[in-house]
Amino acid sequence: MKRNHLYSKEEKLFQDKNKIYSAQSVKQIVYSTDARDFGQVATSIPCQEACPAKTNIPGYIRCIHEKRYGRAYELNRSANILPGVLGRICSRPCEFVCRHGEPDNGLSVAICHLKRTCADLKPVSHRIIEGLYAPTGKKVAVIGAGPAGLAAAHDLAVLGYRVVIFESMENPGGMLMYGIPEFRLPRDLILLEINNILRMGIQLETNTAVGSDISLDQLGKEYDAVVVATGCVSPRKLDIPGQELENVHHGLEFMKAVNEGLTPFVGDKVVVIGAGFTAVDCARSAVRLGAADVSINIRKTGEYMRIDDSEKHEAQFEGIKTYSLIQPSKIIGKNNKVTGIEFKRTGMEKIDTPPYRISVPIENSEFIVPTDSVIAALGQTPDVKKVSTRFSGLDKKGHQTGIPGIFAAGDFVTGSSDVISAIAGGRKCARVIDAYLIGEKRKQTVVRLENHVTTDRPRSHDFIDRVGMNTIDMKERLFKSTNEVETGYTDDQAHEESKRCYLCNLKYEIDPLACIYCSACIDVAPKDCIKMIADVPVNPDGTYGEYRETDDWNAVVSIAIDHANCIRCGQCLSVCPMDCISVTKTELIEIDT
């Protein structure tokens, strides 16, 4: 029972007017733009904060728990326009910071697998809801139908623009269609989710390359704004003698060929150079092309590979070996075909600015390894000149290029990144263009606060083991190279996994005005999550910094819950004799201004 009488009517009015939100006064839904609330949400909900698109992860996991797959899908789609796709191939920055994955808490929640589930299991009758603004009468050209371009196109269409996408390849999808193998991402799924975007009335012109078939200047004149989202397709070269030999492939080219149904020559022994997802994709594709001995060779150590554990595991399972601390120095051939590759050993060294560890080749360490083919998957750079010779500098944050009316988004701006960042970039770019063309900001991000009552889940759920993803066995993988390796969660598995989310969007707060400092909450805390604090510093950006703890009761200003450590078990709530701990649902959402 809340202590309503603690505040007189005048006090409450005063508080509302001056935007002082104490736990007791939050009884209705409030939208806040206070920096402190933004800061709190960022530390409290690490998964959402880490997601470039700021997906409301606890929200959709809760929906999955309630078997509302359609709603979960919508929550995802409102942040990331391709949920089914990302639910398979996302690089998962959220899982890396998931509170459940912290050292003593166990393993992170399988957030990505759950995202896939809501796409897989949403009912047939599910309808996509788009809230359309009135037409503006203006038109925008988008160059590139990859994730960044598609996201920008979608948002611009919603905002009321007529959008035309120019795509140089035969199919839309960009890296999704051409860079990622089918056994990780089925083609029909890509097309399905892309069509959901195109249904907004967006026109797609394939087989049209800007810079050759049509010029950027032309587009600049015909359209009110142009978005360059051509990604990074210029492969980084090995830059070593012998790279022109036959059977030396470059990662993206190789994947393109494989995804187009071709069979580039790999031979029996394949050496793959590279430490990212593409290198692993190439290696796994090489296995499916029949190679018996495939190795991935990296300059640093396994710790530095930019891939997640499930990819590492699948590669190992498929028999691919990984060699570390080596870099290629020369490719050797006979009759213009690859016969071997010379490597140098590397060592790890520290550089100070920026503080980082780099690999440095060791003198006189060359040795030769025989091989039938080499695949260099070193990533790509954006070929700025290919699109237009007028490009010079790029404002990488504001999406503005040096040319007025020409904007850019995705890998073209950031360099090789990941799909979710590209989507987030495309959306931001759409907002920037909207503000440029209309002259006002139509949406804003706020923190929505709502009174809540309980933890919504029992403590015993914290001890459930992470549900593994179902995969097909080796025979099936080799039988048809396009067979999707991961087959998705069942209804029950998804429900079980969804139980594991702590629901970090619930904020537990002790009201210092009502607390009697009995420390009953500290006694029952399962972790070091409730602290005696002397003060809370305020950062320059207006958010709260880390609590300054103290042992001295005389200096204690409050007993406070540390949101970064709180696992939302509800113990404190149940023992507080003063009932002064409140639960507030905090969500980062976008509303109209």
Binding site: D104, P458, R459, S460, D462, F463, V524, A525, P526, K527, D528, C569, Q571, S574, V575
Partner: protein, 586 residues
């Protein structure tokens, strides 16, 4: 047929359920047919987080002492458990919490302090308690669950025992305890690789008789009620307070009266008053209180008024160490006070004898019209044992006053000199039975008489009466004499006797010819029996819990030969290991 004899210690902070865990464990084991003896220690503070240790010995054979070292130490609180490690055997087992909420600082973790040879089992007690009931209160039950899994204790029987123990509480409480137990059990079964030799599986036990799980204080109170106690006056003092507490509830139900006095002097005064009035009366105290009662002991003996004082000894002198055990009131009890003042002193050697001693005390006091002191100690008062339900005393023991016959009442002499020394005693209100009673030396009518002959006659009478008790005294406990001489005879009294008996049994296994002797009747002492025993021993060893060897000096006077003393004043009960070690050296 396999035997087991294991000492399990649970150590935690006050309020963590340490003592109740020990209680549940011993109750269960007793129910399974094992002998159990528990000796718990509590923190001195009334509130706060001091150290609690529940120490329980479980055996398939009779137990005579609590065991000095533990075989198993369960740590519910690292901080306190570290100070308990020294009493864990070198090859002992430590069970500790492997996942506390916060990591320990260096050397503040009990697991980091184990010596090589010890076996450590880390169990996430805190985490499992949370899993079972959402909070850490069930940690003690989780630990018991794990222990059961490790030592092959039947899980279902134990949970039945828990349910029975908490039977009257809310279902939610029962469930929390049972679930915590099961979480610990299951986790240990799945995750721990057993590397110790202890097991309760396959231990055969005799058919179960109904057992009582009690401590000395409870038995004293029960015995008093069964033996017609009608009046209790007392002043609370550790470790005797529990006796008064129990009687305050129960005595009125039996038609008796309890009076809490302003001090011990008033208490013994009231007891003697009640005794004079014809009702059985008793008080219980400890060393410092007994000292205050000294003067009145003289009155009881001189005026021949029945009175019983229970003295539960603690470390002294003066306030001493209230929660530590000692046997240093011997001199005071047997020889204290002024004048030639013979009084009966009984010293039970184990928990179950506390019942018999109290019944005898009330009986002797009434029959022999004198003071009886029963010497317990902190250990006997508080240690818990499972014993057969004691048989209620026969009528002869409950009503023992030798009343005057019709002829006696014609010219009633309250202090008539008789062959036994016991004068028929009229209860006030008996027609024709008016008499005088005084602390002054007196004649047969009770009137003051200072003549030389009179004082000698009366003193002799009182001593004759005193010596007559020996006929009815319980026989001394002598173990393992067999034929022929033994090398070492161990003579002990009170709670040390248990440890002595165990030491002798162990010594015999090692090939040392030994025997033990102890007598519950300490004053008058069965001197003949003692001399006969000592004659068969090449050497005599007298272990006791006091510094100077009070009983040893007493026995030396009787035996008129040198004895080897073994004295401990550690505050802890006598350990058979220590006696055995001394025997080896001798």
């Amino acid at each position: 047929m396999k035997d087991i004899d294991i000492v399990i210690e649970i150590c935690g902070s006050a309020g963590e359920g340490t003592i109740s865990a020990g209680e549940i464990l011993s109750r269960f084991m007793s129910g399974q047919g094992f002998e159990i003896m528990s000796f718990d220690s509590y923190p001195a503070e009334i509130r706060g987080f001091g150290k609690c240790v529940a120490h329980t010995r479980i055996s398939s054979n009779p137990i005579y002492s609590p065991g000095k070292l533990a075989d198993v130490l369960i740590s519910l609180n690292d901080n306190h458990a570290i100070s308990q490690l020294p009493t864990l055997k070198e090859s002992g087992i430590l069970i500790y919490d492997s996942q506390p909420a916060r990591p320990h600082e260096e050397d503040k973790s009990v697991a980091g302090r184990t010596k090589p040879g010890m076996i450590s089992y880390g169990i996430p007690l805190n985490m499992l308690a949370h899993k079972a009931a959402g909070n850490a209160r069930g940690m003690n039950m989780v630990a018991l669950g794990a222990l059961s899994a490790l030592f092959h204790v039947d899980k279902d029987r134990f949970t039945d025992s828990i349910k029975a123990r908490y039977g009257k509480k809310k279902q939610v409480v029962i469930d929390a305890n049972v679930n915590s137990f099961l979480e610990g059990y299951d986790w240990a079964k799945e995750n721990i690789k057993k590397s110790d030799p202890y097991s309760f599986e396959g231990v055969n036990l005799p058919e179960q008789k109904e057992k009582l799980i009690v401590n000395g204080n409870q038995l004293v109170a029960q015995a008093a009620l069964d033996a017609n106690l009608m009046f209790y006056a007392g002043y609370p003092i550790t470790p005797a307070t529990k006796i008064m507490e129990i009687l305050s509830k129960e005595l009125p139900k039996h038609g008796g009266t309890l009076l809490q006095t302003e001090d011990e002097i008033a208490a013994i005064g009231a007891v003697i008053g009640a005794g004079f009035g014809g009702k059985r009366a008793m008080t219980a105290t400890s060393g410092p209180g007994f000292a205050l009662m000294t003067e009145f002991t003289g009155l009881s003996v001189m005026a021949e008024v029945p009175a019983v004082i229970i003295d539960s000894q603690r470390a002294g002198p003066s306030t001493g160490m209230p929660t530590k055990t000692e046997q240093s009131d011997f001199n005071s009890a047997v020889m204290g006070g002024t004048g030639d003042c013979p009084r009966i002193v009984l010293a039970p050697a184990d928990t179950k004898s506390c019942y018999e001693a109290t019944v005898l005390a009330l009986y002797f006091a009434e029959k022999y019209q004198t003071l009886v002191v029963v010497l317990l100690d902190f250990f006997l008062s508080n240690s818990i044992k499972n014993i057969d339900v004691p048989k209620k005393p026969a009528k002869k023991y409950r009503i023992a006053n030798i009343a005057p016959k019709k002829e006696d009442l014609k010219d009633y002499k309250r202090y008539k000199i008789t062959k036994s020394g016991i004068s028929p005693r009229a209860v006030p209100g008996t027609p024709g039975g008016i008499f005088f009673s005084t602390g002054l030396e007196h004649n047969e009518y009770g009137r003051p008489d200072y003549s030389q002959a009179g004082h000698l006659k009366m003193t002799q009478k009182r001593y004759d009466k005193f010596n007559a008790v020996l006929v009815e005294a319980p026989a001394p406990e002598i173990s393992a004499m067999g034929r022929g001489k033994v090398d070492i005879g161990v003579i002990s009294w009170g709670s040390s006797a248990g440890a002595a008996r165990e030491a002798v049994m162990a010594a015999q296994k090692e090939g040392i010819k030994a025997a033990s002797f102890s007598s519950m009747m300490v004053s008058p002492f069965p001197e003949k029996a003692l001399i006969k025993f000592a004659d068969n021993c090449r050497k005599i060893l007298i272990p006791e819990l006091n510094f100077s060897g009070q009983f040893a000096d007493f026995a030396t006077c009787i035996l008129k030969r040198p004895v080897e003393k073994l004295n401990f004043i550690t505050g802890r009960p006598m350990a058979s290991e220590d006696i055995l070690q001394k025997m080896r050296e001798m």
